[in-house]
């Protein structure tokens, strides 16, 4: 009797497991297919992309699309623009938001609560709302068609507040003992932060780093507003500008360029993946 019941339970759990896998594979489709299609279609000749019935794999593999990626626009330079901007944004975001997050978590200073509420409120002001005064200011400073706004806005603008929160949350749960011991030994505030607190904040650094990198790489609205010259374009803008002499879209080229832009984020993500999830788990978004 008992073993019957046990084997029935095992059978049932095997059925559940199979159902789960079928469900997971089915649900994966809309998440994975567009990216796979983008990747494989960039190896198709332009006229094969709208072939019916649609296929995932190219019938005829070609690198024509990729060749045009580099010949139709200064793509390498645009790639370099996006990369250097993203690196500056990521490094500065980590450093500055870690400092602010640390101060909000650990240091008593005048107006601390008011400053904190101000940061919270700022999250509700998207750049679309304030773009007109920012645009006029950038123009007045002669910084239109430069990379300055694309560097300054993501580092200091209201979107950076989430990063400050991630670090604040991390430092709130960080044991005080280490720091107090160091303070007793006569290490300065800054010394404690740079030599003890920051090096131990790896999960928060990974979470903020990935989010800042993504934010910078995804920046489209600002690039559209501020950049004019193709040599200064960042990748998001560059992808949309592949047109032939007749103003027709160069389909496979667009998809090739889009595929190439995924690589750096994928690399950054694979390096920091584990830490990233751990860092997000500490954001206070945790239940």
């Amino acid at each position: 009797m008992r073993s019957d019941a046990a084997s029935a339970a095992r059978k049932r759990s095997r059925v559940t497991t199979v159902t789960l896998y079928v469900l997971l594979v089915a649900v994966s489709f809309p998440f994975l297919y567009p990216t796979l299609w983008m990747f494989f279609s960039s190896f198709k000749p332009a006229n094969e992309i709208f072939l019916q019935p649609p296929t995932l794999l190219p019938r005829e593999w070609t690198l024509d699309g990729f060749v045009q990626v580099f010949t139709a626009q200064p793509f390498l330079q645009q790639y370099g623009n996006s990369m250097y901007i993203a690196v500056i944004v990521t490094v500065s975001s980590i450093l500055l938001s870690a400092m602010a997050g640390y101060a909000f978590a650990r240091i008593r200073f005048p107006l601390r609560n008011s400053a904190f509420v101000l940061m919270l409120a700022a999250m509700m002001v998207p750049v679309e709302v304030t773009i007109i005064p920012i645009f006029t200011a950038v123009n007045a400073m002669g910084l239109n068609d430069t990379h300055w706004p694309l560097i300054i806005l993501p580092i200091f603008g209201p979107t950076s507040v989430v990063s400050v929160f991630i670090f604040r949350q991390h430092f709130l749960s960080f044991p005080r003992d280490y720091e107090e011991a160091a303070r007793l030994d006569g290490v300065s505030r800054a010394g404690v932060f740079f030599r003890i607190a920051l090096p131990l904040a790896t999960p928060a650094i990974a979470a903020v780093g990935i989010m800042a990198f993504l934010r910078s790489f995804n920046m489209y609205f600002e690039a559209l507003i501020f950049l004019r010259t193709p040599e200064k374009f960042t990748l998001g803008l560059a992808i949309t500008r592949y047109q032939d002499f007749y103003g027709e879209q160069m389909w496979n080229t667009q998809l090739g360029a889009a595929s190439l832009t995924v690589i750096p984020i994928l690399v950054v993500f694979l390096i920091a993946q584990k830490q990233f999830v751990q860092g997000l788990a500490q954001t206070g978004l945790k239940g």
């Binding site: 500055l96 679309e128 990748l235 998001g236 995924v262 206070g284």
Partner: protein, 281 residues
């Protein structure tokens, strides 16, 4: 002080001060091409109230946000529950669901543009089933929902990760105890899991709402606000008014309204927290 100064000053200079300017601009008639700026009081707002494009724009923004919010939270929580098991290869599935977050929004939009084209991948697949698919992005009845789908699949992986982290902090024993007491999975989901991840639901809800009201790139790249303003969400309407028609004062009024909507919806969600979020957030 020196530690917070850069970030707090940044938020003031790039958030608070421009916001004050936007409010001021919205009371002015200002076309940068002529360089004339003239105080006109509330005229921009009464003009907005009478502008059919603006009412269409508000409807588009609210419908889009409602669609994204509901679909995103339902899918993110379901995926997190589904993935919160010890199964072989579960990490691979987590990576798959997260992967669109890693693809840039432009690449993602461009790709969906192909899939949703009249002779694109989706309709090709439907044809194999004998169904004649609509022109998804040009048909007034499907354009907005298509954009919602594009936006949801792009971003839901991020919320899924947050819910996974929340679920993993729910002690296993509580769920096992409920199971021993004969609670159905459905019952234990509503009575145990949901209350324990309530703070995460609230915060992701607020952030997803703000994010969906800011949507721009997919709209510009896929529908251009059409057909017939059905996808002309506020940020896109603002962009066109300011940078295509060069009406900075009028566009500023749109910005103020966009902010008011974000503020109202955030407050609304936040004020419900006492009813269902027991933990301190």
């Amino acid at each position: 002080m020196a530690f917070v100064a850069p970030q707090v000053l940044g938020v003031i200079v790039l958030g608070v001060i421009p916001f004050i300017f936007v409010v001021w601009y919205s009371f002015n008639e200002w076309r940068p091409l002529t360089g004339q700026m003239e105080f006109i009081g509330l005229d921009n707002y009464s003009r907005l109230a009478a502008d059919p494009t603006f009412s269409a724009s508000i409807v588009a923004s609210l419908l889009f946000s409602a669609g994204v919010l509901i679909l995103n939270l339902v899918i993110a929580i379901s995926l997190a529950v589904l993935l919160n098991r010890r199964l072989k290869g579960i990490t691979a599935f987590r990576t798959i669901f997260f992967s669109p977050v890693v693809v840039s929004v432009v690449a993602w939009s461009v790709t969906w543009g192909f899939l949703l084209a009249p002779d694109g991948g989706l309709n090709g697949a439907l044809e194999l089933l004998g169904i004649d698919g609509p022109n998804w992005l040009a048909d007034p009845s499907t354009a907005l929902i298509s954009l919602v789908v594009v936006q949801v699949f792009k971003g839901v992986g991020m919320n899924m990760v947050l819910f996974l982290a929340a679920l993993q902090s729910v002690p296993e024993e509580i769920r096992e105890a409920a199971q021993l007491d004969g609670a159905s999975p459905w019952r234990s989901f509503w009575s145990i899991t949901v209350p324990m991840i309530a703070p995460t639901i609230l915060l992701t809800g607020i952030l997803t709402t703000i994010g969906s009201l800011e949507v721009f790139a997919p709209v510009q790249l896929l529908t251009g606000g059409g057909p017939g303003n059905t996808t002309n969400v506020l940020p896109f309407f603002l962009y066109r008014t300011a940078f295509i028609s060069q009406q900075f004062g009028y566009a500023s009024a749109i910005g103020v309204v966009l902010f008011a909507i974000i503020l109202a919806l955030t407050m609304l969600q936040w004020s419900t927290r006492r009813k269902w979020v027991h933990d301190e957030v």
